[in-house]
Amino acid sequence: MQHLANLTELRGGAAEPAIAVDGLSHVYAGADGGVAALVDIRLAVGKGRFVVIVGPSGCGKTSLLMMLAGLRQASQGSILCLGRPMPLPDPQRVGVIFQEASLFPWLTALDNIEFPLSLRGVPRAERRQRATAMLSLVGLEGFGERYPHELSGGMKQRVSIARGLIQDPPLLLMDEPFAALDEQTRMTMGHELLRIWSTTNKTVVFVTHSLTEAVYLADEVLVMSARPGRIVDHIEVTLPRPRRYDMMATSLFGQLRDRIWQQIRKLPDGA
């Protein structure tokens, strides 16, 4: 855990991290005293970094993300997103993208993207203009009037990403966003996400099961243990950017993936 503490210093010391989590623990209430879900989580995510969290099912990755988003409160510890705590969701600071695209089936793609703005009463013309811009950012020009059931799985997730980006939050939390997609679409979407990330300069925290996806996308990978979840390893991905598909064949890529795999394999429940 020592290297975690050093991380901020390495990256220019005084600069405030985008996310700072300290001593975070969570216990789910239950009849027999409850279940410990997270234990003493500490992490610091630098501004503009792409951080991936991997870990076995049920390790509390999603819980941690929900807490960062202000959708759930931890039993203990502190979370600072851009220097302020998250007692409630704050969509202008933190955008969340969920595992299922979770689009509203009764709204068109554009209306889905506009949804966060319409909650805040942004005028219709402005909403439409911003949503259209988002739609082309995610490569879906011309699909704005389609309903979700008329879109493929990858397209739905693109719409969901556009919805997450429309308020231009500096922080983007992504909970296994590509888990439901086939392998090919998943790789394409990962690549697309990197392209969008590099043009928007956001800080991203991305949760996944896939080691390949983790190494391909990340600046840093955090490995979590099985329940109760704690962070057991922190890996700097030193692959150059922009990432290219052929980097997956390099020995560095293999070594990084192997290191994560070794960490996960050591865990009691395996992955």
Partner: protein
């Protein structure tokens, strides 16, 4: 089959049934006292429609149907939503409701007569009672159809509880509720009919029951035609609303 062919086949089938209705009694294959020929029924129908007493009966029945529907739907829906959304109420009432739902409601008819007499109020109360149950059960299911991830998405974008109700719950439940409207209209109409046929002084149901008891078959069949027409009009009115509201369905 093309659309034209389908419509042509339907019309041919209808013509066949009507022709059989006309010819079988006339040829003596079916006893004309039990099934009068169509032409005779239509003659009686024309005569009946012109009569003030029949017009009044139709108006009474229609009013009973509408009033019972307007009472049963909002009450049943509100009760269903409240029960489904509240964990305690759910635990307490749901099993009981399922048991009561399985009991044929018509056995309660004598109690409604004792409480409300045999007039307008009793018809409305009984029909609203039977329909309210259907609406309540469907509304409960409709609430359960609201997806947790949709609510979570709305919350993550800072939606207030009222926004979650109007922007997530209502549109999620709408297809269910519209379907419920149509089914509950069928139950509602049946409720009014049963109440009218069991004990009444007016209404189409009452007239039909009377004609049956007096063996006036042409009148009885004419009454069935009138009643069917009214029932289909009500059902189609609800369905037109349903189609309009649910283009985004699935």
């Amino acid at each position: 089959m093309t659309r034209t062919q389908i419509i042509a086949t339907r019309l041919a089938l209808l013509a066949l049934v009507l022709a059989a209705w006309e010819l079988l009694p006339r040829l003596g294959v079916v006893n004309p006292l039990l099934l009068p020929p169509l032409s005779q029924v239509l003659g009686v129908l024309g005569d009946l429609i012109g009569r003030a007493s029949v017009q009044e009966a139709v108006a009474v029945t229609a009013l009973e149907v509408i009033v019972a529907f307007l009472i049963a739907v909002p009450l049943g829906a509100a009760a269903g939503i409240v029960i489904a959304e509240n964990e305690y109420l759910s635990d307490i009432f749901k099993p009981m409701l399922f048991y009561v739902f399985s009991i044929p409601k018509s056995i309660f008819l004598p109690m409604f007569i004792l409480l409300f007499g045999i007039g307008f109020q009793q018809k409305v109360a009984y029909a609203a009672f039977t329909t309210g149950f259907v609406v309540l059960m469907s509304a409960t299911a409709a609430v359960e159809s609201v997806r947790a991830d949709h609510v979570l998405v709305a919350r993550s974008y800072g939606a207030t509880p009222m926004q979650i109700l109007w922007r997530v719950y209502v549109p999620s439940m709408l297809p269910f509720l519209l379907e419920t409207l149509r089914i509950s209209m069928i139950f509602n109409f049946t409720g009014v009919m049963i109440a009218e046929m069991y004990a009444s002084r007016t209404g189409i149901g009452h007239l039909i029951a009377n004609w049956g008891e007096n063996f006036q078959m042409p009148q009885l069949f004419a009454g069935v035609i009138v009643l069917s027409a009214v029932a289909i009009i009500f059902n189609e009115a609800v369905r037109a609303l349903e189609v309009r509201c649910s283009t985004w369905r699935t």
